[in-house]
Amino acid sequence: MLQAFLIILQRDLILAIRHRAELMNPMLFFVLVVVLFPLGIGAEATILERIAPGIIWIAALLSALLSLDRIFRTDMEDGSLEQMLISAQPMSLLILAKIIAHWIITGLPVVLVGPLLALFLGLSAEGIETLFFTLLLGTPVLSAIGSVGVALTVGLRRGGVVLSLLVLPLYVPVLIFASQAVDAAAAGFPTAAPIAMLSALLLLSLSLTPWAASAALKMSVS
């Protein structure tokens, strides 16, 4: 079973590396959105510092949304998904591997680059530290919840719009707790509560969404 998990993870990472251009797209989007904000609203340090966590988190959310479809779409098109569904391995485990692969490809770069961009926006050191932890805890939730959305819409010919409508409301709690944590840290308040909520969301989504996505995929494929 562990072997199945590892080979799917490895497979998705190899595929991503061989499609480097596609890999860069969500990342570039994330950086551009954040960089454009100061140009749009002026370089006043107090305003930028105030809205920095919100900007970075919204950009992370949208860039995750941009890349979600890839979790299952290409596998659906070339029949690999069918082979996974009729394989002698538990589908939810394979999906967990795909979620983690998707996070490594699209979430991890955001976790690494996000704090750097926060520095440009003038966020305080405490704020940046907390932002890093919220991104680390929150971005896997985006991939996990997204996998259910994609699993539900992958059978539709144009599922893009439905996918955003389906997934974005579920992303809202992550956004609220994450920006609350960073705001609290920047103002010098304790952040334990929102961070604990984010951790709970992470554990909950990683343990439940693979099953939900597996059930949804069985419907989408038939």
Binding site: Q3, I7, R11, E77, D78, G79, S80, I86, A88, L94
Partner: protein, 222 residues
């Protein structure tokens, strides 16, 4: 390669009772019944659009029939999907091959997914299989650079990876040259002689000797 393999240890039977599938408010097929014993081939015939592929997907458990059920050894396949999938090899219409993985990488994923009887690290076996399907010296070629026939052979290799007693093949002979067709016919023959079962759709006649081959014409049932 084929001669040396022992008979299947667990030969079972595949039966279908009163199967019916509805598509876009009309019956695609109705009242399909058959009982496939070890050493038997079921050759599905029918015009384009008569539901051959759909029936094969129902037999795999990918599509749920609107009426009736599929039984593996008298137990519904829905109730034993793990045991059933362990016994099943399916080569479908979309071949389940990743264009951006090499031939060997594709094979390795297929081996792990099907819980192959061979070890993934066993280079000898991988070499033997590649030689058999006529893809020797192509180990590190991306599947993207293979011809349609070669890709078909690679997809068929999935049947040789594990000891599955049931082969479900959707047009296995399309795009193949004379040698390829002969190879697949030999492989099916050896599979049947070992006590296996096969369900095949093909517009070309299958040249398999000394085998009980039942024909089922879906156009006639509709």
């Amino acid at each position: 390669m084929f001669k040396s393999l022992p008979a299947y240890t667990k030969s079972k039977r595949l039966s279908v009772k009163n199967l019916a599938v509805e598509k876009q408010d009309r019956w695609l097929f109705q009242n399909i019944n058959f009982d496939l014993q070890p050493k038997e081939v079921l050759h599905l015939e029918g015009e384009n659009g008569s539901g051959k592929t759909t029936l094969l997907r129902v037999l795999c458990g990918l599509t749920i029939a609107d009426e009736g059920d599929v039984y593996w050894n008298d137990v519904s396949i829905q109730k034993q999907s793990y045991d059933y999938h362990l016994q099943l090899s399916y080569v479908g219409h979309s071949d389940g091959i990743k264009q951006d993985l090499t031939v060997v990488e594709n094979l390795r994923v297929a081996m792990v997914l099907s819980r192959s009887i061979y070890k993934v690290s066993d280079k000898q076996i991988l070499g033997d299989i590649l030689k058999n399907i006529g893809l020797e010296n192509k180990e590190d070629t991306l599947a993207f650079h293979l011809s349609a026939g070669q890709r078909r052979r690679l997809a068929f290799a999935r049947c040789l990876l594990n000891d599955s007693a049931l082969w479900i093949l959707d047009e296995p002979l399309t795009a193949l040259d004379i040698k390829g067709i002969a190879f697949i016919e030999q492989a099916i023959q050896a599979h049947i002689e070992r006590g296996g079962l096969a369900v095949i759709t093909s517009h070309q006649p299958l040249n398999i000797k000394n085998v009980r081959c039942t024909r089922l014409n879906l156009s006639a049932v509709a």
